[in-house]
């Protein structure tokens, strides 16, 4: 069955789901929801995602939203197909979970307002909060220092293998690296984070997603 993904290929949260599907060889169809036209707030989409966000998926009778919940579901359901994104033991899976939580609670929480102020507000001609940007950069640096330490002794965030823990970071990292000039100070200056980003962004599934997104 082809999974329907409602969202935009260029948007970060849908990309988390699409990347998982590409890594696992799961067939999907993207049904475009025009975020610039606020299509996600319209009644038709609210039936699929009551908070007015993307992505949402339909897989036969199954409907799900929240990109990290979706990737956890598919990584579990198709554990034996494509890249193993979860880890083989409960203990390993829990560490994967831990770093997915870290991405959501520490990194995304800082990176999102940063990208909004540095990329989106200028795009829409809105004034950006310069003081806030500086505060967020400081917070971001502190978080990345922990990552730098972690990746000094681990090839990937959860250990020796590429997992959801790494995958979940990629859409947000792309914004930082490709759409802002923050990448130099934040990422390339950190040897291990830089090595990690170069390695995971060279994966065929990521390259395929970048082709589809056609930036």
């Amino acid at each position: 069955m082809v999974v329907k993904v409602y969202g935009q290929i260029k948007a970060a949260n849908p990309q988390r789901v699409l990347l998982c599907f590409l890594e696992k060889g799961i067939e999907f169809e993207v049904i475009h929801v025009d975020l610039d036209q606020l299509e996600q707030k319209k009644p038709e989409h609210l039936l699929r995602q009551p908070f007015g966000q993307v992505p949402a998926i339909e897989d036969g009778d199954l409907k799900l939203f929240e990109s990290r919940a979706i990737v956890r579901y598919y990584a579990t359901k198709y554990a034996d197909q494509g890249t193993d994104l979860l880890g083989k033991t409960l203990e390993k899976r829990a560490i994967v979970d831990q770093w997915v939580e870290v991405e959501n609670n520490y990194l995304y929480a800082v990176a999102l307002p940063l990208v909004i102020n540095v990329v989106f507000k200028p795009k829409f001609g809105e004034p950006c909060d310069v003081t806030l940007i500086e505060e967020l950069k400081v917070k971001f640096e502190k978080v990345l220092d922990v990552y730098e330490n972690r990746l000094a002794t681990n090839r990937y965030l959860a250990g020796d293998e590429f997992t959801l823990a790494d995958l979940t970071h990629m859409p947000g990292m792309r914004y930082i690296m490709n759409e802002t000039t923050l990448g130099d100070g934040l990422v390339t200056s950190r040897e291990n984070v830089n090595r990690w980003w170069n390695e995971i962004s060279a994966r065929p599934a990521w390259k395929k997603l970048m082709d589809l997104a056609a930036y």
């Binding site: 009551p50 908070f51 199954l62 799900l64 939203f65 929240e66 990290r68 919940a69 979706i70 956890r72 579901y73 579990t76 359901k77 409960l90 203990e91 899976r93 829990a94 560490i95 979970d97 831990q98 997915v100 939580e101 870290v102 959501n104 609670n105 520490y106 929480a109 978080v143 922990v146 330490n149 972690r150």
Partner: protein, 220 residues
Amino acid sequence: MVLTIYAPLFASSKRAVVTLVEKGVPFETVHVDLMKGEHRKPEYIAIQPFGKIPVLTDGDYKIFESRAIMRYVAEKYRSQGPDLLGKTIEERGQVEQWLDVEATSYHPPLLALTLNIVFAPLMGFPADENVIKESEEKLGEVLDVYEAQLSKNEYLAGDFVSLADLAHLPFTEYLVNEIGKAYLIKDRKHVSAWWDKISSRPAWKEVCEKYALPLSALPL
């Protein structure tokens, strides 16, 4: 080997603590005095590199992030106590969905209210009235969605209590008590009924009694 939870008195930790109690898993606790900055000391950073609480240790194994701990405990002790993950992969998908909703949509505005209304006066930093107003509005919008969901299902993920419901307990307890905005819950019929049900579970009552944070004893 006995499990150990660090900083059980704080709300985020209580997500993990209530899961352990629901599953009937014995555990020990280690107090971490956030007011004295114990979470920033090297011995603590060695087990939680971000200096946040909680952490769970199980012999040499350690795991942080309250919701990751919840999942680990619920899975490891699947065969005892209530099944907090659902019975099928599909039910689990719904649990994960609402657990993530708590993290991404419910928690941020509620945390902002908690910090500005409960902790600002105690810790002596100024409350941001704009943030309070926006957070209250935002939380109301989120709870409207919950009201619709809970009019169709007894609990968030379906007709069974799950991690998704339990994750809401600690900070919602602040909302209906110290924050003084219980109306957000009580004025919504199905949300109110859901809150009454989950907050009167014996496990949650036990957690509130045993691990109460003595707010009045906090330094100014």
